[in-house]
């Protein structure tokens, strides 16, 4: 089922303004999407500088392609697909071995959300699989009002250390606030795979925060 999507009126308006040479419309688009474009590019290429180039190339391709844009996808999805294609091409040229298969097949073993040692054994007579000791409470310390810069640094470092596929999915979903359906479309992931990557990434980050808060207790 591939219906030709009606171009949303907001997208249609944006396209009209770009085609007519409205600089403010272009600037608005660049400001809105460049950070997440760069984040996505960083997952494919080796350096910040190369990611920056790929984003720049993407915007140039948007300009040359805008006349042919038919609105079969949203403007946003169209732009991010251009970026993905360019970043992949660049990665191949750099001979970087990106684990694309990780994006497609997240079913590798050994990915418990929480260390199994934290739970009572499955053979426990009363509480099989329950927390062996109560969870330390720190969620209240992570409330926005009191969150420290150090906490944010721990989170940022944790994000950077995630495997690339988990990092992209968590960043687009939670840092950039994309809905799941857009992440799936741009990365070519099934909804189930997207969720598995999100789950693994978030679980690891929660673990990193837990270690940090335990050290500060």
């Amino acid at each position: 089922m591939t219906p030709i999507a009606e171009m949303s009126s907001a997208d249609g308006d944006l396209i009209d303004r770009l085609r007519s040479g409205d600089e403010a419309a272009f600037v608005c688009l660049v400001n809105t999407y460049s950070a997440s474009l760069k984040r996505l590019a960083m997952a494919f290429v080796s350096s910040d500088a190369v990611a920056e180039e790929v984003v720049q190339e993407t915007w140039l391709a948007v300009l040359t392609g805008i006349g042919r844009f038919e609105g079969r996808s949203s403007v946003k999805t169209w732009i991010f697909k251009i970026l993905t294609n360019r970043a992949k091409t660049r990665a191949i040229r750099e001979r970087r071995t990106i684990n694309f298969s990780e994006l497609e097949d997240p079913s590798e073993p050994g990915h418990a959300a929480v260390d199994p040692a934290r739970f009572l054994a499955a053979s426990h007579p009363t509480w099989p699989g329950h927390w062996a000791s109560p969870l330390e409470t720190w969620s209240a310390s992570a409330e926005d009002a009191v969150v420290s810069r150090e906490t944010m640094r721990v989170l940022q470092r944790g994000l950077e250390r995630l495997p690339p596929a988990q990092r992209i999915v968590v960043a687009l979903r939670d840092v950039h606030g994309w809905p799941a359906v857009e992440v799936c479309e741009v990365l070519g992931l099934s909804e189930a795979n997207q969720r598995v990557l999100l789950h693994r990434g978030r679980s690891r980050l929660r673990g990193a925060l837990e270690v940090y808060f335990a050290g500060n207790a």
Binding site: Q56, A113, H130, L159, V175, L205, R206
Partner: protein, 88 residues
């Protein structure tokens, strides 16, 4: 009622389906088990709150945008592109 609805969800299972729960994709049977367990388990309540806190905090992370020089050169490219369009 079948066996699944009767079987209590263990904490170790809850931490593996929490993303499905937060995404609203947990099947009905498991949702019932999830909520029943949660109601009686302070540690898992905390775990859910930690995941929610993590998502909120992630939304506060700063994002790196383009260097000012790149934005300038994009603007120049836009103006060149616009000028090349006139007369079409």
């Amino acid at each position: 009622m079948n066996d699944d609805t009767l079987r209590e969800m263990a904490c170790q299972e809850l931490v593996e389906v929490i993303t499905d729960y937060l995404e609203g994709t947990l099947p009905e049977v498991d949702l019932t088990r999830f909520e029943a367990h949660l109601a009686s388990c302070p540690s898992c309540q905390e775990y859910v709150e930690q995941m929610r806190a993590l998502v909120r905090l992630s939304g506060k992370l700063s994002t790196r945008s383009l260097e000012p020089a790149t934005v300038d050169s994009l603007l120049s490219a836009f103006r060149r592109w616009r000028d090349s369009q006139t007369g079409l």
